[in-house]
Symmetry: C2
Subunit: 193 residues, 2 copies
DNA sequence: AAAAGAAAGTGATATACATCACTTTAAAGT
DNA sequence: ACTTTAAAGTGATGTATATCACTTTCTTTT
């Protein structure tokens, strides 16, 4: 359930970690969003479509992944409560998506459309700054993941992930974690021994 | 040599690929930058320092890399003419850098300090939008690199890089390309056979 | 509660790649 | 031009990991 008292709205708290907002400003921001619910196994993004929405997860857990020509799944990332998720390539460039995003659990979501996000950032420098900062941090995280893929062994990457996101191991099948780490599920299974 | 005629300034052309600028606006933007030259093997960023500058390369080629505990070099990225380069993690968070950036050729550079960039983006929404877009594209490129590390073989990654940046293979030693791709130089050397 | 389906563990085998050692070729510095 | 240093190629060997096949355990669905 969403808390409709705007002063304590989780999205407001999330945004205010980066930029302070007046009540009026937050109302304006929130007016650009919609809410939706999805059941486990439902899609947020499907390969081939031009992605029109960026989601913010209020409840649940999703996977973003690429399917290769043999149907092998490569996990790009997971996202949980208070994380933003979409296919940024498709969303930013408005080109057909090459990836899928679907729910690993029943989810409650806020979303903003491409048009509304553009409107909002044009009219409200604070929100441009907010997303700019989010994008910078996202980029830094991706850089670190690349570095980890280059310099760390499979075991090291596993341990780092476990350390950084212990909740993930309670909620996500190990075979998906294996895929995220770039190894086979069999290798992951034999890791601790 | 830099072209000092501001109408044709390469940085102006670069920015105007994303946001249009008046002469006055570009003068204002440019007033926040300085120019510098570096010789081959000189550093732009050294491990341990808090990075104060973001560079825009007018001439030359650099590598950004991480050194592990055994002194093994892991290439994060290369950058050439009209590319931005810095350690974004250190620059954005103002924390000590874990990486090095140094020149593979003699370089001519423009740079903007952390303070000036902050001033400029606060005062000029257009430049906030410009860098926001750059950051989005940078993030997309990193996502694609991760995907490539997960789904493509070494040979495939080599071929894709060769296709995307053929100039690189004229300017950069193969052992650095091997490091960028995440394989040993010996393996890279044996690839085409 | 039973049946079906997905996830996880494990052995055997094949393979891509790292590493070490050495040689050859090319580039940089004096 | 000569010397030194770096880059690139190549053989031999060891190792991590993929893949296939099968079993066991856990989760969902009806």
């Amino acid at each position: 359930m969403l808390d409709n008292n705007k002063t304590n709205h989780p999205l407001r708290q999330h945004i205010e970690e980066i930029v302070p907002l007046t009540d009026k400003e937050f109302d304006f921001v929130l007016s650009h969003f919609e809410t939706t619910k999805k059941r486990k196994h439902q899609y947020l993004v499907q390969e081939g479509e031009i992605v029109k929405k960026e989601y913010w997860i209020t409840k649940g857990c999703v996977k973003s992944y690429f399917l290769n020509e043999n149907g092998k799944e490569h996990i790009l990332r997971f996202a949980m409560e208070h994380w933003w998720i979409t296919d940024y390539e498709s969303f930013v460039k408005q080109t057909p998506s090459k990836i899928n995003i679907d729910c690993l659990e029943d989810c409650e979501l806020l979303y903003i459309t491409f048009e509304n996000r553009d409107k909002l950032t044009s009219q409200m420098h604070k929100m441009e700054r907010f997303w700019a900062k989010k994008s910078k941090f996202g980029r830094i995280a991706l850089q670190q993941r690349i570095l980890s893929l280059l310099k760390n062994s499979t075991k090291e990457r596993y341990d780092l992930l476990l350390e950084q996101y212990p909740q993930l191991f309670q909620r996500v099948p190990k075979k998906l974690i294996a895929s995220y780490l770039g190894v086979s599920r069999e290798t992951l299974s034999r890791l601790d021994s």
